[in-house]
Every structure is written in C-alpha cells, then in structure tokens.
Subunit: 93 residues, 2 copies
C-alpha cells in the first residue's frame, strides 16, 4: 500500500520543539521525506503498524496530530506541487 503522512507538532513549548526532530527522524526511517511535514511511500501492513506505534510513542496526543492517508493502489494517485520544488532526486510519484 502507499501512504501519505502529514504531522503537525505543537511547538509553542520546549517539549514540543524537542519532539519535532524526533518524529522527523522516525518518519524518515519508513518513508520518503517529501516536504517539511509531509512524508510518503510504499509500506507493508506490518511496517505501518510499527510506524504508528513509534509515532504514538513520540507525539503528545493532546497537542500534536498525525494524519495518515492510506491508498491501496499506487496507480490511483499522483502528486502535483506549486511553489518550492521537492528534492530533485525524488522520483517516487
């Protein structure tokens, strides 16, 4: 399956600011870092479960949010961007 993950971390506090690099690093272990708070990539069911567990251990559920879009068929999705381009070596979609 293909997933798109977007997070928004509450950075008004010191703890929040310390969560940001942690979650970025963790998401990079599983997915391609498309843009600041956007990650995407193909992932297995088992890896998705592990990613969700890791994310839950990092974020503060009362302040932060993570949204995961799960797309069963990768041929059914494509991406367009306006503004700053992505990493030029990126050729996922």
């Amino acid at each position: 399956m293909y997933i798109i993950l977007v997070y928004d971390i509450y950075t008004e506090t010191k703890q929040g600011r310390s969560r940001l690099p942690k979650i970025m690093k963790k998401c990079r272990e599983y997915l391609h870092h498309t843009q600041k708070s956007v990650f995407e990539g193909e992932i297995s069911e088992a890896k998705l479960l592990a990613l969700k567990k890791d994310v839950e251990n990092i974020i503060n559920k009362k302040e932060d949010y993570v949204v995961i879009y799960i797309i069963e068929n990768i041929n059914n999705i494509y991406r367009e961007n306006i503004g700053i381009d992505f990493d030029p070596t990126d050729n996922i979609l």
Copy 2:
C-alpha cells in the same frame, strides 16, 4: 476525483504571515479543512484548475509550497489520525 492539499507557508516574514489566512480562506472555499495545513475533498477538474490558479496568485513560489495529491477513486483511500482528533462533525472519510 478526490484530492488532498497540504501547504507550508514561509511565515518568517510579515508578508508570509499575511499569506497564511488568505490561503486558508481560499482552500476552505473548495475543500474540507481537515487539519491546520491539510485540506481534502471531492473536486471537479474545472474546480481544481481554478483552485490551483487561485493558490498560485496567493503564495510566494520562492518561499511557500503546496502539494496536491490527486486520487482518482475515492474508494481507494482512507484516513487514520493519531493525536488531536479532527472536527467531530467531519465524516468525509
């Protein structure tokens, strides 16, 4: 078609901070506001073209970015979130 729109506006400058409410308001005209920088919803081809034009007129292409994921078949995508819940009246996905 179903789209997911994520933006990241450069808010280090006064001009950037003034763009943020404009693009939020504009995206709300076309899509459901899922979370801070995330919008989603069904949209026609014509409306998507109009939305992209409006977005291009608002953002600074050298500082901001907007990524649009286009999913042809809405039955092929579902959403999960971790942390702060969405607007309870939301029953889009």
